[in-house]
Amino acid sequence: MPTKIEKDALTGRHTTGHEWDGLQELNTPLPKWWLYTFIACCIFAVGYIALFPSIPYGRDYFHGWLQASSRTAVDADVKALEAQRAFSMDKIKYTPIAQVKDDPKLLAVATAAGRIAFANNCQPCHGAGGEGRVGYPSLADDTWLWGGTLADIQQTITYGIRSGNDRARNSVMPNFGAGGLLTPAQIEAVADFVWGAFYGHAAEGQDLSKGRAVFAENCAVCHGANGEGSRTVGAPPLKSAVHLYGDLRAAIVAQVTNPRMGVMPSWEKKTNITGLDEATIKSVAIYVHALGGGE
């Protein structure tokens, strides 16, 4: 309690009556409007506490009369976004794939949707950037087993390769070794030829004529006389720096003796319950096309 309110002789002001060891506090009054502003702020704070989440109760908290929550706001945003996306995806579904690519807005949606669907479904085999690995073709290079146009890619994704789907791309490499079509010596010879003439590892003065003959008789029908491959039957080009089953002579021998033939699932919803809808398949095709090798 202030007791000794008096006028300070030096300044002519009143003191508040507070005194500490002879030091007196001068009264410098606060403007009244400032006090009222403070009271108004307090009233505002009470209203705010009542309307918005404010008081923690341990595990729960007081939610406020407005039931405001940033979580429900995010939910609403996500729903709105899905609705917006549904519209675009519908448009992608009914637009021919080449025209989707020409519409910058649809292209942006398709590329984004394709990237996500690719990461969820294709990445385990083909790699994060579509780089592939031994036995799983790269989608980023310029080699396509079954064709690299948008339509080709869409077809491959939809129906798959040797997937069992009626419209899948199918082909079989004959079992030359285990099936007894070629003798081990012939297989060694043809491997020498492919390794030497196509892979570019021929030794100086090496005689490849024997292998060349075997190749012309057995392999050229699918892989082409010059090892250029064939997309009609999905026969990989052999005269190339890119090799599906690895860059080793032993891999050639293994493939001719007992061929591996990759399977790609059909992503059609009809035949694959974990499949993708048409718009998403188109989006993936567009995304894959843009990985670097699209034709």
Binding site: I5, H14, P29, K32, W33, W34, G127, G130, E131, V242
Partner: protein
């Protein structure tokens, strides 16, 4: 506060107040109109500042077809600041910081030289308060008429004058709030949209906010802002010293103050100083203080008391400038009958001026050499490289080219240091070429996905450095970006 103290103390002495309150009611200040050089300068600055403020957004500036045509526009959505011929990108935001620092140092310099002239003449609070007082005077008359009417009973005359004043105040506040938003949105477009209800909600909110603050701060709060809200008066003392020019009552000349007896002749007036204690200086003061009490926190250095007193001095046939601009040192010397010249050059002013010169030089140099071209390159993360059929290696890059010029331009991209390097744009049917031409819109950023083919020179880790070189085909400006080309290990 000194004057308020006086009022309160007077009341206390009369026994009306036994225990002074810790809260003070606002004492309405009724400044009286004055005429004189300070007032004239103040009007001039007011007209100039307000004209610039209200009309600048309407000034057009030709930047070419389809481009922003407002001379000054802070376009936040597109992140561009347009200042006449200058166009600032987000990267240039440090200029704003620099400008603010320069303004602060400039304020320090001016204050150490001539006191709070910023407060008295150019501060928006002062300028708008002055404008509002002018409107008030127009409708309610000068000090005495206003005081009489305020104390008198409610009458038709009183009501219409008050109503008209507040209406006008509101109109000015609204125009002020609107003009502020026009620095952020195209002025003619906003004007149309505002009245057709098509403007953005933010526009209405901010116009409302600035209308309200203008009306409250200039109409009602006035000197309370300077005394209680503004931090500047609180630390200006550290910029002032005995050598700063401030509005001063020449104590040695004025005291002892006292009324002149007109008829009594000289003997009755003998011993009196020049101050006739007419209180003209107090009545003219917009913050309601008495300059004769010395330097005070509330004094905004506007000099209106100088004008008011000069008028009195002329009327009483005494020399002018009893209240004047002088330094504390000068006054001290004069009181002792000596003279002390005003010193412009003091360590304080030299340091402030030096800081300004350095700041301006650095900013000017940076502005003059500002690049109009920016290249950013990002190497693909997956895959790091791709082998293609013919045996060469392909790397993917994303290029961002910032064209900071006012014209759409073609940029020539070449490579240096990558043997046999050739490139093409992804998804473009073309054969790889050693150079590419990339068009980028005026004032735009072009994003390009680039595929580079090369035969990297064999290195232990398969990667090698090389440069992208980008040249603006029109202006010739060029920039280089050192990137990396990846290949198989040991390749």
């Amino acid at each position: 506060m000194a004057s308020m103290d006086k009022l309160r103390n007077a009341a206390a002495e009369e026994g009306k107040v036994s225990q002074p309150s810790l809260y003070a009611s606002q004492v309405t200040v009724y400044p009286k109109a004055v005429h004189g050089p300070a007032r004239a300068v103040k009007w001039g600055i007011l007209v100039f500042c307000l004209t610039v403020y209200y009309l600048l957004p309407w000034l057009r500036w030709d930047r070419g077809p389809g481009r922003v045509s407002q001379a000054v526009l802070l376009d936040l959505p597109t992140r561009r600041f347009y200042l006449f011929g200058l166009e600032l990108w987000p990267q240039d935001i440090w200029l704003l910081t620099g400008l603010l620092i320069l303004s602060a140092v400039g304020l320090f310099l001016v204050t150490s030289l001539a006191g709070r002239v910023w407060c008295g003449y150019t501060c928006p609070q002062t300028v708008w308060t002055d404008l509002y007082m002018w409107i008030e005077r127009l409708l309610e008359g000068d000090r005495n008429a206003r005081m009489r009417r305020d104390q008198g009973p409610a009458s038709l005359d009183k009501i219409w004058r008050k109503l008209a004043k507040h209406t006008l105040w509101f109109a000015v506040a609204f125009w002020t709030g609107g003009a502020f938003i026009m620095y952020f949105v195209d002025a003619p477009t906003l004007t149309v949209q505002f009245w057709t209800g098509e403007a953005a909600t933010e526009a209405y909110v901010f116009i409302g906010l600035f209308t309200a603050t203008t009306y409250l701060l200039a109409g009602w709060a006035r000197e309370q802002v300077c005394t209680y809200m503004c931090p500047w008066p609180r630390f200006q003392a550290s910029m002032l010293d005995e050598q700063s020019l401030i509005v001063t009552y020449q104590n040695w000349r004025g005291e002892p103050r006292g009324h002149r007896k007109i008829d009594a002749g000289k003997p009755a007036n003998a011993g009196l100083g020049h101050c006739i204690d007419c209180l003209a200086c107090v009545h003219a003061c917009p913050t309601g203080i008495d300059i004769r009490d010395g330097v005070q926190l509330e004094c905004i250095n506007c000099g209106l008391c100088v004008d008011a007193c000069n008028e009195m001095m002329v009327r009483t046939g005494q020399p002018k400038w009893l209240v004047t601009w002088d330094t504390l040192a000068g006054q001290k010397a004069k009181a002792q009958g000596t003279h002390e010249a005003f010193r412009f050059l003091r360590p304080r002013t030299l340091i402030y001026a030096g800081a300004m010169v350095v700041g301006i030089t650095v900013m000017w140099a940076a502005m003059a050499t500002r690049a109009r071209l920016d290249l950013a390159v990002q190497h693909d993360r997956a895959p790091l490289f791709v082998q293609v059929r013919d045996g060469s290696i392909r790397n993917g890059y994303t290029l961002k080219i910032s064209n900071k010029t006012q014209a759409r331009a073609e940029f020539v991209l070449t490579m240096h240091g990558l043997a046999g390097g050739a490139m093409l744009l992804a998804e473009q049917p073309a054969t790889p070429a050693p150079a590419l031409v990339l068009p980028v819109d005026a004032d735009g950023i072009g994003t390009f996905r680039l595929l580079v083919f090369g035969h990297p020179t064999p290195g232990s880790d398969g990667s090698q450095q090389f440069d992208f070189i980008l040249r603006n085909a029109t202006t010739g400006e060029r920039t280089t970006y050192t990137s990396v080309f990846m290949g198989p290990r040991g390749g």
